[in-house]
């Protein structure tokens, strides 16, 4: 594989510790993005991001068109939501999203006539020309406003409103936009397909983001297990200043602390953000959506979702409207196989299992992974023998076994001494633990309980 345009960066192309879980991306890596036929109804949650929820802007039984704003963001750290199909709204009702939160959602019943569906929708979202020159005609303020109005949030899963990251901040100037194409979660291929099939909007979006926040460098970081994506991005970025950096495949390289470390050699301070070291990190899907929002004025109504796993009949990458249920996507991928054991929102390392097929797809849904009994089989938990494998695996350089024990025994002073709040919950420790202790689950519990207990005392 010929090396694409590679920007010299000071990163070592990798980070300390981490693990190598089985990748299993082959299941869906070659499945071209397909468009989900317009569902009969969608339910669009009013909170799909970190920040304040939106307020409903529509009344029940109101006709809405694809792309119309139906929930408006009243706070600064918030993002509006849009109708992902043309149809009629109903009374807002409560839905549960995979992380367990309950919230209001606006149901939309599909109209018989959809202006965009099938191939036309795919072309509208990913096709066409994506300019890489003359982008400076868009003022930074106009870009930020277009991104805000389009309801863009981080599509990698965290869901932080994108316009907040792109706004210029004189106290913390940004010099680099880092596009995160690592997709280090096993199984998932949505970002990979995006880079292979639609590198144009990714490159344009990255350049627009850099222009908005005043960054001089644009770097796209891709793991070296995706040579085709590196190649296609390199071609799309030809003649631009956008650099592509190939990182050595390791989990959790896609975590922003690790990506910034590996690609740029900069260490984000504990509890800090990439902007503390002059970097804005956006996911490849987000970058593509930035281009679409700014160049075409289109909001975020659809996203690519990988439906995969050995428990799925026909693994696929699907362009799906936000608000469609998990069940419909699973059926589109041929349904569940016998032996399917867990339906996971996201990938197997950090994803949540869902209890119902009726959960809606949100802006942060990167994939649906269905694992079989065989995949999830785990030995019975035994005593910790302090072998230290978790210490060797922890990308944050923590002592997970000690933290987990502190959580189990509610010893908050010990949890603090061992820096429980530096844990990013990537799950490396629990993956390697020879004693099958649910380390990351215990640490998560401790983090949730500790401050509350403190307050009581």
């Amino acid at each position: 594989m010929a090396m694409a345009t590679t920007t010299p960066t000071s990163g070592k192309r990798t980070f300390r510790h981490g693990i190598h879980p089985p990748e299993r991306k082959g299941l869906a890596a070659d499945a071209v993005i397909e468009v989900l036929p317009t569902p009969a109804r969608v339910k669009i949650p009013l909170l799909q991001h970190i920040g304040a929820p939106c307020s409903a802007r529509t009344k029940p039984r109101q006709e809405v068109a694809l792309g119309e704003t139906i929930g408006q963001a009243d706070a600064f750290v918030s993002a509006p939501v849009h109708a992902s199909i043309t149809g009629t709204t109903a009374m807002p009702s409560a839905v549960t999203i995979p992380n367990g939160r309950h919230m209001q959602a606006i149901p939309i019943k599909a109209a018989d006539a959809q202006e965009l569906a099938g191939k036309a929708l795919l072309k509208d979202i990913l096709g066409g020309d994506w300019p890489t020159s003359g982008l400076s005609q868009h003022s930074p303020e106009a870009i930020v406003e277009a991104v805000r109005a389009a309801g863009l949030v981080g599509l990698g899963g965290a869901g932080f409103p994108t316009h907040v990251k792109l706004r210029r901040n004189d106290d913390k100037p940004i010099d680099t936009v880092l596009v995160n194409g690592c997709e280090c979660e096993p199984y998932l291929t949505a970002d990979y397909r995006m880079m292979v099939e639609a590198p144009g909007p990714v490159v344009s979006g990255a350049m627009l983001a850099a222009h908005a926040c005043g960054a001089r460098n644009v770097v796209i970081a891709v793991e070296d297990n995706k040579p085709l994506a590196i190649d296609t991005l390199g071609k799309a970025a030809k003649g631009t200043d956008v650099g592509i950096v190939e990182l050595r495949t390791k989990y959790p390289q896609g975590g922003e602390k690790q990506t910034v470390q590996a690609a740029l050699g900069r260490t984000i301070p504990g509890g800090g953000l990439p902007l503390d070291v002059g970097v804005v990190v956006v996911n490849v899907g987000t970058a593509a959506s930035i281009a679409r929002a700014v160049l075409r004025g289109k909001p975020l109504t659809h996203r690519v979702v990988t439906v995969t796993g050995h428990g799925i009949v026909k693994p696929r990458n699907v362009l799906a409207p936000i608000g469609v249920t998990y069940g419909e996507l699973i059926d589109f991928a041929g349904g569940l196989k016998d032996g399917a054991a867990r339906i996971i929102a996201g990938g197997p390392m950090m994803g949540f299992t869902i209890g119902s097929r009726d959960y809606p797809v949100t802006k942060g849904t990167s994939g649906i992974t269905v694992l079989t009994e065989d995949d999830v089989a785990k030995a019975r938990e035994t005593h910790c023998v302090r072998c230290g494998r978790c210490v060797d695996a922890c990308p944050m350089n923590l002592v997970p076994s000690r933290l987990a024990l502190a959580s189990r025994n509610k010893q908050w002073d010990i949890a603090k001494r061992y820096h429980a709040f530096s844990c990013v919950e990537c799950g490396c420790c629990a993956y390697v633990c020879p004693a099958s202790i649910p380390l990351v689950q215990l640490i998560r519990l401790g983090k949730a309980q500790m401050p509350r207990e403190e307050k009581k005392a």
């Binding site: 569940l336 950090m350 994803g351 097929r357 944050m396 603090k416």
Partner: protein, 369 residues
Amino acid sequence: MAENTNTPESDTQAAAPQTHVAPGPHLSDRKLSTRRMMVDVIIGLLPVTVAAVIMFRRYALLQLAVAIGGCLAAEALFACMRKRRPTLGDCSAIVTGMILALSLPWNTPVYVGLIAAFIAIGIGKMVFGGVGYNLFNPAMVGRAFVMLAFAGAVGAPAYVEAGDVGELRDKMPWLESLGAMPAQYAEAPDGGADTVSAATPMTAKKMKDAGEEGGFLTKFKNLAVGNTIGSLGEVSAIACLLGGLYLCLRRTASWEIPAGAIGAVVILGGIGNLMDPSSGWTVLDDLAGGALLFGAFFIVTDPVTSPLTPKGKLIFGVLFGALVMLLRGYSNYPEGVMFAVLMVNAIAPLLNRWTVPKPLGGPAPIPVK
């Protein structure tokens, strides 16, 4: 963790498979298990065990059988007393038994070996709550007990008196052909074979340092290959290195510990060497003699009783090496591995506390809720 079972609610697929809700990560590395680690230690101990069996033949086999059998029986008995399912399957009792056997002299009486095994498992491990909870290396607890309580049978005198040259020749006539009779491994430039006692290399050195009759230094070649008498496992330096490197490569033993221990011995032994260059005892003899390598690779590397953090492990190894040198040089015992192990075990929790690693980018502030 309890798993909630949920039937997926679906009107489109009536006979969907039942799926579960469980915390992530949903994959785990199944190649790793506690049992697998213990099996690794057993594999790592094989070269030393084979060396011991070549040297001491049926006496070595007897000690191994007694110690391993005793440890397994003790594990089962104490687990029953605690009304727990005996955890014989994790092989940790076998490891304790092997290390215990290899740390005893060839002529240890059977009853002493059995007592050591029961003390090792019972007092060394089970009273703390079983595998993973013990503070001290179980095998060393068992050995320390019989060393002190049955000093005549296994203590320092046993290594000398029971190994009286005539008795050695009577009981193990094959030693002569292995070149393992004290007279054969003694470097005796000024004295003949008759002034040589039947002492182990470390005891003989101690005696020589004290100016006692019968003391001598041992040829380095014998220390390395292992054709000397001594505890079963302390004979062959090469076998220890072989098995030890396997453990480090498998990452079942942390390389930091033996590296620290060997480093400390090299530095301290080197200083001793420079101060007294004519003594004929070099750093290499310090390393290959006694149970230093056996201890550094197989005993102190026990994960349960060593620190968790890389920095802590290195300090732990250095302290172990330094203590061994201190005890060898200044205590009344010819060898100090056992006491050194127990002492560093005692400070392992403190080392953990002192060497909490700094998180990437520094500690995150505690959120205020």
